[in-house]
Each structure stands twice: as C-alpha cells, then as structure tokens.
Symmetry: C2
Subunit: 152 residues, 2 copies
DNA sequence: GTCAAATTGTTTCCTAAGAAAACAAACAAT
DNA sequence: ATTGTTTGTTTTCTTAGGAAACAATTTGAC
C-alpha cells in the first residue's frame, strides 16, 4: 500500500475529494500540461496530435467521421485540419463519388512527424506516470474507457 | 472478464487509445458535461461548486489558500468568489491582524445550497457511473489521486 | 425525373476555464 | 526606513469546445 498522503485523510466520505469528476479534472490538467511541455511551444497541440494519430491510423477518413471518432463537432475540426495542412502533415483529398466530402490523408512528412511525436509523447507520459505500476496504468485506462463507453 | 468493446480491439499498443491523457480528457468531458446537466443552467458551475465545497469544509480559509488548494491561480479565484458572493452563499470577511487578507465564510444559505448541491451531484455521479462497481470507482479515484500527487 | 430533405465542410459567434503580467495596498525584515 | 514579499484584483491572452447558419451537394420519395 505504499505511503499515502498524510494530510486530508480523515473526513473523506462524501466530500469533494472522492468526487470522480473533481479528481478527473485535476488529473487531466496535470497530464495535459505535461503533454504541452513535452511537445513544446511550436509542437502539436493535444487535439491536433490526436487528429493526426487517427488520420495516420485511418487514412482517407472523412472529416465528419473523424469528428465523430474524436467526439467533437465538425465545425471544431476545421481549424485542426487547417493546422495539420499548414504544417504539410495532411492533405484534404477530393473523393470521386461525393464532391462534398474531403478525405484526409497523411503526407510522408505527416507520417514521420506522427511517429516521432508519438514516441516522444509515450515516453514522457510513461515517465510522468512512473509512480504507477504498469498494471495500475493499464487498469486506469480500462476504467476511463469504461466511462467513455457510457451511453447517455 | 466482462464484455469489452468489439470494435477497435486489434492494433492497440502504442496507439492513441492507450494514451492516458487522451482517455482522461474524453472521460473528463463526459463527466463534466453530466455535471452541468445535473446542476442546470442556473446552477453552480463545476469550479464554483468545488470552491463552495472547500469553503464549507474549511471556513475562514484565505483566498490564496483556497486557490492553492484548488490548484488554480489567485487571479482566477476572484470571479469564482464573486459568483458565490453574488448568490449570497459566501462572504469575504476582513481579518483582524492582516488587512490584506479576506477570509471566506459560508452563509447559512451557502451551507444549505452546498449540502443540497452535494447530494444531487453525488447521486447523479453515482448513477452516471453505475457501470462501474463501487470497488472500481474507488480504485479509479485512488489512481487519479496518485496522479494528482505527482511532484513535477 | 423532379423536388424536398439530409449531409458535408465551413464561417461566425459564444462560452468555460485557466495562465500571465501588472498593480496598489498592506505587511515583514533587516 | 527602505526593501522585498504577499494578497486580492484587473486586464489581456490562450485553449477548447458548442450552436447556429449557409452553400454545395447528394439522397430519397414519389
């Protein structure tokens, strides 16, 4: 059981400290700020990184499909794809049968940039979370995915 | 154990899907949007609720101390306390020995509002997370606290 | 085949949340 | 008494996302 914190230990039932939402937010802020430090000022923003990762994983994905997969609005995706296109990491390709749709494909530079960023991010996250055992991290991700899969 | 998702199962090592940061963000968005629905349009915003909870728990806490405890900047706390004061839930009291400091105290209405909001929030969160067993929820909170306690 | 309805990418505007920098008032220390 | 620090505050900036509207296009009903 390691060494728990010595301070706010008593009076911990029904308080802020055991609200999942509160702890999620605090933990998210820590991890995301570390992410930004990792990729630096000019580096990919978290959501841009996520989009690139999915475009590499699912080449020729549609903007609508990507927005759905990211859980954001189509309108919000525009700026993200603009960013990636400006960096030369992604191109919007016309689709033969449907002239409304733009298929997103990574450029070679995009693939390289992604795999480099991915390495960096994974390594830094592992190091940030080195207080957690691999089992704990895996467990955590599993629980978070369970929350993500809640149907509301 | 249990029924995992059937879709994106293969190719899941080193991808976006097992990044803690990504899952944290997605899960946080779900829980915090549920929070807002729970307390409604006119209800306390998440951060305002958190502040009120701590003021009730630590009456006469200083604004600086509260900001520290919340993990935000002093400047950001001003609007939160303004909000609580406008609702009549909190008062800024002068402190005898130090005229810079404002001690935050809940009003009787503030105490009532807090305990009502707290009940509501706890109940809705429990219901939202009903897919998780109590052990899983407890486990999750423990892991999130571990992240919160990382010294960087 | 035509016309209404839906879809796609996009623009514009709005909100929430927090950070950073500066400032006056007050305090502490030497 | 001057210097430096702390407290609350204001102002400005950044990040992230949602909602509504729109033109271009496609689909579906009939």
């Amino acid at each position: 059981m390691s060494k728990p914190n010595t301070a706010l230990q008593r009076e911990d039932h029904g308080t802020l400290e055991d609200l999942v939402g509160y702890n999620l937010k605090r933990a998210y802020l820590i991890v995301s700020s570390d992410f930004r430090l990792t990729l630096g000022e000019e580096g990919l923003a978290p959501r841009v990184f996520s989009a690139l990762a999915l475009i590499v994983q699912f080449p020729l994905i549609t903007q609508s499909d990507l927005a759905r997969k990211l859980g954001i609005e189509r309108s919000g995706l525009v700026a993200i794809v603009d960013d990636l296109e400006a960096r030369g990491y992604v191109v919007r390709k016309p689709v033969p049968n449907d002239r409304r749709v733009r298929a997103l494909a990574p450029t070679p530079e995009g693939e390289v940039a992604h795999s480099q960023a991915n390495e960096t991010v994974m390594a830094h996250e592992a190091q940030l979370l080195s207080e957690l055992t691999p089992q704990e991290t895996e467990n955590l991700v599993g629980l978070l995915k369970k929350i993500r899969n809640i149907k509301r």
